[in-house]
């Protein structure tokens, strides 16, 4: 541990990361380089809007660029313009270091992870998190805190991220994790958006899920997934719930979570990366579970059509969705249907008690089949999913269905 001031902590972490990682480059408009002997600590003239472009170019060339704008008193306007001008699919690996004069405006930058440490310890932790993040990150260094001192761990992997914007993580000795794990777990998504129990998973299940995560791509926007590719996702949590239902094993997840089938379910880690594994990979994944699920994304257009047609037919949307499901599953017994349009995107269904074989669940953005793997094979569940989705995509067919005409 070393005692450092707030600003020293940031520079210390920056120097340490520069030494450890050759892909870091620091660009300092209007300032002298701190590491004068390094080719990767570059002083630039004051360039206003061009400074962001220069940093962006360095990022495009494969480096993690650090743009130090602490000498610029008014950069919020420039940054807002520059960030908004980025192509929609651009994801520059860049850290911007600014002062706190325009913190309120800077916090509004779209698509940017904004970190504003309040203590020297947070400054060190946040700085490292920003430098190891693969996304555009803004680190606001409050000059008013320059004189504050604190003990800073000299651990090269000490890193922190805010949970609710103010909370400080536990002591360094407890929280230090391998950088890769911490970065993947924390840096790639704003932690404050995750429910408090999001990471409450047994270690063995979290590791078992890494096979799914390994095949994941970047998270597409819900509206962009118009190919309707089927996504097969393994739910390692559900087996515990199913086991709790069967009262065969102690469930690590409270049984109330299974009974609250109408409440929002625990978000799964693959939620942010919904391009899950393919069927073969999912089928090959060996897990000691009896409950599985597979899901397919419904586009907003498809869901809107369902609602529109339900309005025309004068029935609630869930009734129409249920009818579509029944129509698709005419010969399949022992399944249920749940309609949850308010559910959070990516939330997965839970096989509720009383539904022996399967539960078809239409949520905000996807259609999911939860099924008992002892009763249904993965292929059967996939076929069920496709059949229901086919009818949901063209619910107008029901208008001509004899079973519906009479009602």
């Amino acid at each position: 541990m070393s005692r450092m001031t707030y600003l020293e902590a940031i520079e210390y972490v920056l120097a340490a990361e520069m030494e450890a990682r050759l892909e870091l480059i620091v660009l300092r408009p209007g300032a002298r380089p701190a590491l004068e002997e390094s080719e990767r600590d570059v002083a630039l003239p004051r360039m206003s809007r061009n400074s962001f472009s220069v940093a962006l170019g360095a990022s495009m060339a494969g480096m993690h660029s650090v743009l130090d704008l602490r000498q610029e008193s008014a950069c919020a306007e420039m940054l807002m313009e520059a960030v908004c001008a980025l192509p929609a699919d651009a994801s520059p690996e860049m850290t911007i270091l600014t002062g706190a004069e325009e913190a309120d405006r800077l916090a509004e930058l779209p698509g940017v992870m904004v970190l504003q440490p309040k203590t020297p310890r947070q400054a060190a932790g946040f700085a490292r998190a920003a430098l190891r993040s693969s996304r555009l990150t803004l680190l606001i260094a409050d000059q008013a805190l320059a004189g504050e001192e604190d003990e800073i761990p000299e651990d090269g992997d000490f890193m922190m991220l805010p949970l609710d914007g103010t909370e400080e993580t536990p002591d360094a000795e407890e929280e230090t994790k391998p950088a890769e794990e911490t970065a993947a777990e924390v840096c790639d998504e704003p932690a404050e958006e995750m429910p408090a129990d999001f990471y409450e998973e047994p270690a063995e299940e979290a590791s078992a899920e890494t096979e799914d995560d390994a095949g994941d791509e970047g998270a597409p926007e819900p509206g962009a997934a118009e190919e309707n590719t089927e996504e097969i996702e393994e739910n390692a949590d559900e087996p515990d719930e199913a086991a709790a239902d069967a009262a065969e094993e102690p469930a690590e997840i409270p049984s109330e979570a299974c009974q609250e089938e109408q409440a929002p379910h625990e978000a799964e880690e693959p939620e942010e990366t919904p391009c899950g594994t393919d069927e073969e990979q999912a089928a090959e994944t060996e897990k000691p579970t009896t409950h599985r699920f597979c899901s397919s994304r419904m586009t907003p257009v498809e869901l809107a059509r369902l609602h529109a047609l339900a309005g025309l037919l004068g029935m609630p949307a869930e009734t129409l969705a249920g009818r579509c499901t029944e129509h698709a599953m005419k010969n399949t017994a022992s399944f249920g249907f749940v309609f949850e349009p308010e559910a959070e995107p990516g939330e997965c269904a839970c096989l509720a008690p009383g539904h022996e074989n399967a539960l078809i669940w239409l949520g905000n953005d996807r259609l999911t089949v939860s099924y008992d793997a002892d009763s249904l094979s993965h292929a059967q569940a996939g076929a069920m999913l496709r059949a229901v989705k086919r009818v949901l995509e063209t619910p107008e067919l029901l208008i001509y269905d004899k079973e519906c005409e009479g009602e």
Binding site: L22, I25, L27, E39, R40, V42, L44, P45, M47, S48, R49, N50, S51, S53, V54, A55, L56, G57, A58, S59, M60, A61, G62, M63, S65, L86, P87, A90
Partner: protein, 200 residues
């Protein structure tokens, strides 16, 4: 040489002829090595990319020369001998900050070659001349690939050897002039590098 000329011809056919810098960009793509980069709007195109992989809309949006500068800074820090080629439209070149970007490139001796589009009436005002005084300037016929070749060769070699940036002023002629692809085709056939049926 034959292979190089044919590759250049393939790039010329790939890029739309109505864009002023397309000949210079085609020559650059043919000359750049795999570690070199051509600055595009939101990406850096590696040299040696196959003509079929080059998007025909490559020059639809002109790249920001500041971003190209950043890429050159990064490449200079990463490895020696890598070059960035940055197309710059006439409109962008006349903005106030372009001269300062050139001066910065010259001061840092960045491995970058700017392909600047200009017409024959490009005004050489005193301020611009003063700003550009620090940088090596070469004028070339922007519509003739064979004349662009030595200019780009010189610029790329200078950049590789650490001699700093070069500004290639690609003078783009009248709209009814023969297309660069057609000109090169004539040269290839006349000089015996290729048969007409090979140049579809």
């Amino acid at each position: 040489m034959r292979d190089f000329l044919l590759k250049m011809y393939a790039y010329l056919r790939r890029l739309p002829a109505e864009q002023g810098l397309h000949a210079a960009v085609a020559v650059a793509l043919a000359m750049l090595g795999p570690d070199d980069r051509l600055a595009a709007r939101a990406a850096l195109i590696p040299g040696g990319v196959l003509p079929g992989k080059v998007s025909s809309s490559l020059l639809d949006e002109t790249p920001d020369p500041a971003a190209a500068l950043g890429a050159a800074i990064a490449l200079q820090a990463q490895a020696e001998g890598c070059v960035v080629v940055a197309p710059v439209t006439a409109q962008r070149a006349q903005e106030d900050d372009f001269a300062s970007l050139l001066m910065l490139a010259a001061e840092m001796r960045l491995p970058i070659a700017f392909l600047m589009e200009c017409d024959e009436e490009f005004p050489d005002d005193l301020d611009a001349q003063a700003a550009l005084g620090e940088i090596e300037r070469i004028q070339a016929d922007g519509g003739d690939a064979m004349r662009l070749m030595p200019a780009l060769r010189l610029a790329i070699d200078r950049a590789r050897e650490g001699d700093g940036p070069t500004l290639i002023e690609c003078v783009c002629g009248a709209a009814d002039a023969e297309s660069p692809a057609a000109r090169l085709r004539d040269v290839l056939i006349t000089e015996g590098y290729a048969r007409p049926e090979e140049l579809v």
